[in-house]
Amino acid sequence: MNDQIRAISELDRVIHEPGRLMIFVLLGAVEECDFLYLLRETELNKGNLSSHLSRLEEAGYVEITKTYRGKVPQTILRLTPAGRGAFEQYLKFLKSAF
């Protein structure tokens, strides 16, 4: 099989899912953001977004910090170094495939 085509099969499936890819693109462009920001930008529903984030946290790609801003609970999200590395690797594979 052509190496370039084979690269597609090596894509990280945790990142490749469209919902999670949106999260990666958004988190990759910022230092950190909160749950609400992602909710607005991705237009996913709360349950979907929450489950994707849990999946990414399990994989060690996203760091989730629960905090308060005044009296309002706030969930801060950021990519971990492993997450950034995996995303860069994902993009590299994707570019080499095309």
Partner: protein, 154 residues
């Protein structure tokens, strides 16, 4: 009065739009690039001004020489624009080439100020040569990094 926007941000804007913090690195890089671009421009301008003043003082009144020097400066400015707009992010080493160009021009201007007719040719060859060398290195890197298409296996 000044606290009103902060009050609005805290109680209205934030809960509706979410919180986001952008990385500060990108802005710093842009600031550094702009500073380098300005420094290179100033160096090139200084070289041109130095030659023009020396030329005027020398009383040769050979305006054609100034035209040649102007061409060399346009060469540096065009290179600076290319590096700033297109090449800097891909080939950061081109910033050093730009500074080298400006410093080289400045050096030639001061060394050759006594014989401006000879200096104008050196300036032209110098700028042209550096442009050419820079382009050749870019081409070499492009060829080196180009991945050959993998032949299909049966």
């Amino acid at each position: 009065m000044l606290g009103i926007p902060r009050l609005i941000r805290r109680h209205i804007t934030w809960p509706r739009t979410g919180y986001v913090k952008y990385p500060s690195g990108g802005r710093d890089v842009r600031r550094k690039r702009t500073a380098l671009f300005l420094v290179a421009g100033i160096l090139a301008g200084t070289a041109g001004a130095g030659v023009a003043i020396l030329h005027h003082v020398d009383g040769q009144r050979d305006w054609l020489s100034l035209l040649w020097i102007g061409n060399a400066l346009i060469g540096v400015a065009a290179y600076a624009w290319f590096v700033y707009r297109f090449l800097g992010p891909v080939h950061p080493w081109k910033w050093f080439v730009l500074v080298f160009m400006a410093l080289g021009l400045l050096t030639i201007a001061f060394i050759g100020a006594d014989d401006i007719l000879a200096a104008r040719w050196v300036m032209g060859w110098f700028i042209g040569g550096v442009w050419m060398a820079s382009g050749l290195v870019t081409l070499g890197l492009l060829i080196r990094d180009q991945k050959p298409l993998t032949p299909e296996t049966a």
